[in-house]
């Protein structure tokens, strides 16, 4: 290809044959390569951090999604429990309930029946002569919790009577509602309920 190359070009090529870039160029470039080597672990660490962060964010998102997942429709606390109680007396006015039965009938956190034989606090007769009835268990509570329980009088839909297997006629609800005493423990959970018949209600 160079057979026809003019001699003056051949002479110039010969003169520049050993022309090199100055050493400073090589040194500067070498420095860049070294900098690259230092960057590589940092880059790797950055990517590792990124993926770790992304994994944590994904895990958090899954946890929140599970937490926010709509559960089964909320049931009234009374309807949620179908306590099996033993009515110790035939009189409607004073059914006694033992705690071991209550525990067996209540929530999944119920403990073995052999744990205690304590009786639920039997509320004393209310001032004004209102007759007392025994409580129906809603959920298990330890004796310690029950020691500081409070009784609250509430009005609830009369359909709750049916769920507890009680005759509506005996309670004669007014306006579709019936009065009841609910035992709340310190943790704010309803533990037991008793219904107040019409004739015993304080007007």
């Amino acid at each position: 290809m160079n057979e026809r190359r003019p001699k003056f070009l051949a002479a110039l090529a010969e003169q520049d044959r050993l022309a090199d870039a100055p050493r400073s160029v090589e040194l500067a470039l070498r420095e860049r390569v070294r900098a690259k080597r230092k960057q590589e672990p940092e880059k790797w660490f950055r990517w590792r951090s990124f993926w770790a962060g992304a994994a944590m964010a994904a895990a958090a998102a899954v946890a929140v999604a599970i937490w926010l997942r709509p559960g089964p429709p909320a049931q009234p606390s009374i309807a949620a429990v179908a306590p099996v109680v033993t009515v110790t007396g035939t009189e409607e006015s004073a059914p006694a309930v033992s705690v071991d039965k209550l525990m067996a009938a209540s929530s999944p956190s119920a403990r073995p029946a052999s744990r205690a034989k304590t009786r639920l606090p039997q509320p004393s007769p209310v001032a004004g002569g209102e007759r007392v009835r025994s409580f129906y268990a809603i959920s298990y509570a330890s004796p310690e919790l029950l020691a500081n329980a409070q009784i609250v009088r509430v009005r609830i839909p009369s359909s709750a009577l049916v769920q507890f297997g009680l005759p509506m006629s005996a309670y004669r609800p007014s306006g579709g509602q019936v009065e009841a005493d609910v035992i709340y423990t310190e943790d704010g959970v309803a533990r037991a309920i008793r219904f107040v018949p019409q004739e015993f209600r304080k007007e």
Partner: protein
């Protein structure tokens, strides 16, 4: 024996030995090409450095399957020169005889005459200058030059022929053509 692609990959990861191999294989060609194209040592130095920096910083720009590393580096240098000398590329070739020197036909070329030749080469229009720089001064094959210049081999031949002819006219009476 590592391939050029493997060398570049290693260099990108900070392997100085790989850089050394690449640099020593190609720096002279890039520097000389830049020097012949610009006629200026400092520009040639800058272009050489920038071409290798481009390779170090953006190694993915080189694809061993598409061409040789030399062709890639020459291509980068060519683009850098084009940007750097945008004004120069528009300059028309100087009139013939501008480089005429008092020299006998059979005299060997002295340094002064060689400077005249270098100046004449730089004054060529870019397309002819590239062909002359690559084929006559770098001693690249037509195929290599065609790959670097991204044109047909025939185009390289014709540009080279025309460049030589223009140089002969410019240097008429100055040196033995």
């Amino acid at each position: 024996m590592l391939t050029e692609q493997q060398l570049v990959d290693r260099m990108a990861g900070g392997d100085e030995a790989a850089f050394e191999v690449i640099y020593h294989d190609h720096q002279r060609g890039i520097f000389r090409f830049s020097l012949h194209m610009s006629g200026d040592h400092s520009i040639a130095e800058e272009i050489t450095q920038e071409a290798f920096v481009a390779l170090i910083e953006r190694p993915t720009g080189f694809d061993g399957a598409r061409g040789s590393l030399a062709a890639y580096l020459f291509g980068v240098a060519r683009n850098l020169l084009r940007k750097r000398m945008r004004q120069d590329w528009a300059v028309e070739s100087l009139p013939d005889g501008d480089f005429a020197l008092a020299a006998e036909e059979d005299d060997p070329l002295d340094a002064f005459a060689l400077d005249a030749v270098r100046a004449a080469v730089v004054s060529l229009p870019p397309v002819y200058r590239e062909a002359v720089a690559l084929c006559d001064l770098q001693e690249a094959s037509y195929d290599e030059a065609a790959a670097i210049l991204d044109c047909a081999v025939g185009t390289v031949r014709s540009r080279l022929f025309r460049g030589r002819k223009m140089l002969a006219l410019k240097l008429k009476g100055a040196v033995r053509v």
